[in-house]
């Protein structure tokens, strides 16, 4: 089945979970990406966009906290943070105590926080809402991702849009092209099967079923084993061990198995090497806290905080890194009122973070949506996420947003500073 058909089916089946889609014949090794280093076709001022997807519905009100609003404390007894506990930004807003690195980025004008971001008629299904964010079309989430469509307009070379997850996230699937899912682990071919046999298995065979052809293509990629350059550190293996304590876990709804910090480590190496890649996609899962949210949420936010702040600070150290823009979002925020389980149910509007050495940071963009004027218990969005996509497409990627976002004309001006 071709990419597009499979994608259509996956949407129809309701089981996409970000990453059910793999690159057709477009899987690449890290070596392939690094081989594009210092590509003369890359424009000197060109930005690099790093998209961080948080799977599970990150609780926006536990991330950027309206601590001075009595309605916040009324709605969330047991979950709320006091003025003394938050990392204060101003007299009404503070960050979760776990977000020390992001608070510092904000102080250094390297982080902008956009509040009240959503889309019309919000969908509260993880899978459907993530489809909407991936595709950038709330009315009818189709079968292409917003950055996949950008890739179509940018010439279609898969190496321009890279994910370090084993499967390609739908946002990188275009109509005529798809980004590259790059294997992060080093290649160690076990003894017992000779290299020549592997090469032979990687040859296409006319007329074979498409999935069988895809299985064969995996061997062709293995053929590049010996060429793998050695000074790239291998990403840490997925740390999947059960926690030793009694901290409750969330219901899993997808997200990268490779730790976020390890994914961003690879992005950093690629950026510093000057690769031609313009878009990187990374992810972190596990935010679906319907119960016992507070401690577990803090722990997960700390993972996000240390990975993103270390990455942005590192990017600030090199000329190439200066041009990096990081976008952090989740499929939805959570219900204003806590449930009886000290957790929160699926909600709507939430915060989007934009970070980088040269963004128009140190700002809160948009108003905090009212905690009392609600839509069926949920926040009303004031900013459409496509405004942010449009600005990143035009200002970071030099593309025509209307063409990629179905004629969308909204913009968020001055999101990025001068690199």
């Amino acid at each position: 089945m071709d990419t597009v058909t499979r994608r259509k089916f996956l949407i129809a089946s309701g089981v996409v979970a970000g990453g059910a889609l793999t690159a057709g014949a477009t899987a690449y090794t890290l070596w392939d990406i690094l081989a594009t280093a210092a590509d003369p076709r890359r424009e000197p001022g060109a930005r690099t966009l790093v998209v961080v997807t948080l799977y599970g519905g990150n609780d926006g009100l536990a991330t950027v906290i309206p601590y001075a609003d009595p309605a916040y404390h009324d709605a969330r007894p047991g979950l709320s943070y006091s003025a003394e506990q938050v990392l204060r930004i101003d007299e009404s807003t503070g960050l979760n105590p776990s977000l020390k690195g992001l608070r510092q980025l904000y102080a250094n004008d390297r982080l902008a926080i956009v509040r009240g971001v959503g889309y019309p008629q919000p969908d509260r299904s993880h899978f459907r809402s993530m489809d909407i964010w991936h595709t950038g079309s709330p009315e009818r989430p189709g079968n292409t991702g917003w950055l996949g469509r950008w890739l179509d307009t940018a010439g279609g070379d898969p190496r321009l849009a890279v994910s370090f997850e084993p499967v390609l996230p739908p946002l990188l699937a275009g109509e005529t092209s798809a980004g590259a899912a790059v294997a992060v682990s080093g290649f160690k071919v076990p003894r017992g099967v000779p290299q020549k046999a592997l090469e032979a298995l990687g040859k296409p065979s006319p007329g074979e079923p498409s999935l069988q052809a895809r299985a064969s293509a995996c061997f062709a990629e293995l053929g590049k084993v010996d060429e793998m350059i050695t000074d790239v550190k291998e990403a840490a293996a997925a740390d999947d061990a059960d926690s030793d304590d009694d901290t409750p876990a969330a219901t899993a709804t997808g997200g990268g198995r490779t730790p976020l910090a390890a994914q961003l480590e690879l992005v950093a190496q690629c950026v510093e090497a000057g690769v031609s890649t313009r878009v990187f996609s990374v992810s972190l899962g596990g935010f679906d806290f319907h119960a016992d949210e507070k401690v577990a949420q803090e722990r997960l936010l700390a993972v996000l905080d240390s990975a993103v702040s270390a990455f942005v600070n590192r990017m600030g150290l090199s000329e190439r890194g200066q041009k990096v823009v990081v976008l952090v979002y989740s499929e939805f925020g959570r219900r204003v009122r806590a449930n009886a389980s000290d957790g929160t149910d699926h909600g709507t509007a939430s915060n989007v973070l934009v970070a980088g050495p040269h963004v128009a940071g140190g700002r809160l963009i948009g108003e905090q949506p009212s905690l009392t004027d609600l839509d069926r218990g949920d926040l009303k969005s004031t900013i459409d996420f496509r405004d942010i996509y449009a600005s990143l497409l035009s200002d970071a990627l030099g593309a025509d947003p209307g063409r990629i976002l179905g004629g969308w004309t909204g913009r968020m001006s001055d999101l990025l500073g001068k690199p």
Partner: protein, 440 residues
């Protein structure tokens, strides 16, 4: 005498990998009798009897009190992890040994459907209880299964049902019940979810006994309007309402098609036939029979990628490698390999279930398969290896295709196999990782 290719296709889908002897037997018996043996076996399952569920011993948490020390808690956690490993290993052994293979495969399907992960549940006892519930009701009236699952402590805990109370409903279970378990997205509104959550309020789990029960004081017995109907819905009447929706049978038909037939959309006429077979008794076996006998089924060859568990258990069945006879070290490697392939039984990655299709085909998974295949080949006995060491290269390739129940090798794979034809273990390993063996 039935067409051997067709019965091989049927057995690949309805079992965890048929042996060539099983294909021979099915071809001789004919499709109808093969199907009957798969769908409604009447004999006792000696393989299942020989692999009884493990005795886990008491849940170490039940001995903990508020006063337990940190060391006692750590020891309890360690024992729990060991119990979970024991249960996971036992399940793989059961999949290998069972004669009623379609039952096992259907239970595995339900495990991916009501996808509950031990990562959050953290109790082998509750996971085993859920497996037994799915086994007991795997093939009958779906309503019976659904109502039992809504009382299943592991599912309730996984989706926070024990925290769902009259005073403040928790929507997690109600949402996934409609979206992932019974109706599919688009067949209900957010109001239906909120009202549905109220119908499911009041269930609690006793973590000492591992039982779920309804606490009337926590249950919202008031009127709820769900899907346009107003009544004092409780768990059973809510489930009945969902299963009476036309969307339900269509949804289940598509899920079964997706896992047993093809990653491509189900043809409309096939869908109608599956739905007709399922009603009025919500008969899962009737729907499976309709699927396997549908005119569209034979054309689905190559439309699925073997799930990692299916690939590994199938290889062990065909090679006669009883996992209970493997050294403990090798058995651990096997489970480690399944982890590397992304499919550890009891640990689905998402409430949406296991990945499918090309998601399993990555360069990193190929490397794990290579390691496992080499390990399997190293363990293979003379009965498996001798035919692979006899006669011309052509004859060896034919023997390998027969052993692994592959219909035909492509020219490309023939080249790879021929290069390894002098060394039977190597030949076997190449066959196990070949693209032809990877798909189903």
């Amino acid at each position: 005498m039935a067409d051997r290719g067709l019965v091989a296709h049927l057995l690949r889908r309805a079992t965890f990998g048929p042996t060539s002897a099983e294909v021979d037997g099915a071809a001789a018996a004919g499709v109808e009798s093969t199907l009957a043996a798969l769908l409604t076996p009447t004999d006792a399952d000696a393989g299942a009897a020989a692999t009884p569920v493990p005795r886990l011993g008491p849940d170490p948490y039940s001995a903990l009190t508020r006063g337990s020390s940190r060391e006692e808690r750590q020891r309890a956690n360690q024992q729990r992890r060991e119990q979970i490993v024991t249960l996971g290993q036992w399940w793989v052994v059961r999949l290998f040994a069972a004669e009623h293979q379609l039952l096992e495969k259907t239970v595995f399907f339900w495990h991916g459907h009501w996808a509950t992960s031990v990562q959050k549940v953290k109790s082998a006892h509750l996971m085993l209880g859920q497996l037994q519930t799915m086994r007991t009701h795997a093939r009958g009236d779906f309503a019976v299964l659904a109502k039992a699952m809504l009382r299943d402590p592991a599912l309730i805990f996984w989706l926070d049902g024990q925290r769902n109370t009259r005073k403040a409903p928790n929507e997690n279970l109600a949402r996934e019940l409609m979206e992932l378990f019974t109706l599919g997205i688009g067949s209900y509104t957010e109001e239906d979810i909120r009202a549905g959550a109220r119908a499911l309020t009041g269930w609690t789990i006793d973590r000492t006994t591992g039982r779920a029960s309804l606490n009337p004081r926590r249950h919202d017995a008031g009127a709820k309007t769900i899907l346009g109907r107003t009544a004092n819905f409780d768990v059973d009447s809510y489930a009945d309402l969902l299963l009476a929706q036309p969307a339900h049978a269509v949804f289940l038909a598509r899920r079964l098609w997706f896992r047993f037939a093809s990653g491509q959309p189900i043809p409309t006429a096939t869908e109608e036939r599956l739905v007709a077979a399922y009603r009025p008794g919500r008969d899962v076996t009737a729907m499976l029979r309709a699927l396997f006998t549908d005119e569209a089924f034979p054309a689905t060859r190559g439309h699925l990628v073997k799930q990692p568990v299916e690939w590994a258990v199938g290889a062990m069945r065909q090679l006669g490698l009883n996992p209970t006879r493997l050294a403990p070290e090798k058995r651990r490697q096997l489970l480690g390999g399944l982890d590397g392939l992304g499919q550890v039984p009891l640990r689905p990655p998402s409430v949406g279930g296991w990945p499918a299709g090309a998601s399993w085909l990555t360069t990193s998974s190929i490397q794990v398969r290579l390691r496992l295949a080499a390990g399997f080949a190293a363990e293979a006995g003379a009965a498996v290896l001798d035919p692979l060491a006899t006669g011309s290269a052509e004859a060896k390739l034919d023997a390998l295709a027969r052993l692994l129940v592959v219909n035909a090798w492509t020219d490309r794979t023939r080249v790879a196999l021929t290069q390894s034809a002098d060394e039977p273990r190597r030949l076997l390993a190449v066959g196990l990782v070949s693209p032809e063996y990877t798909v189903s």
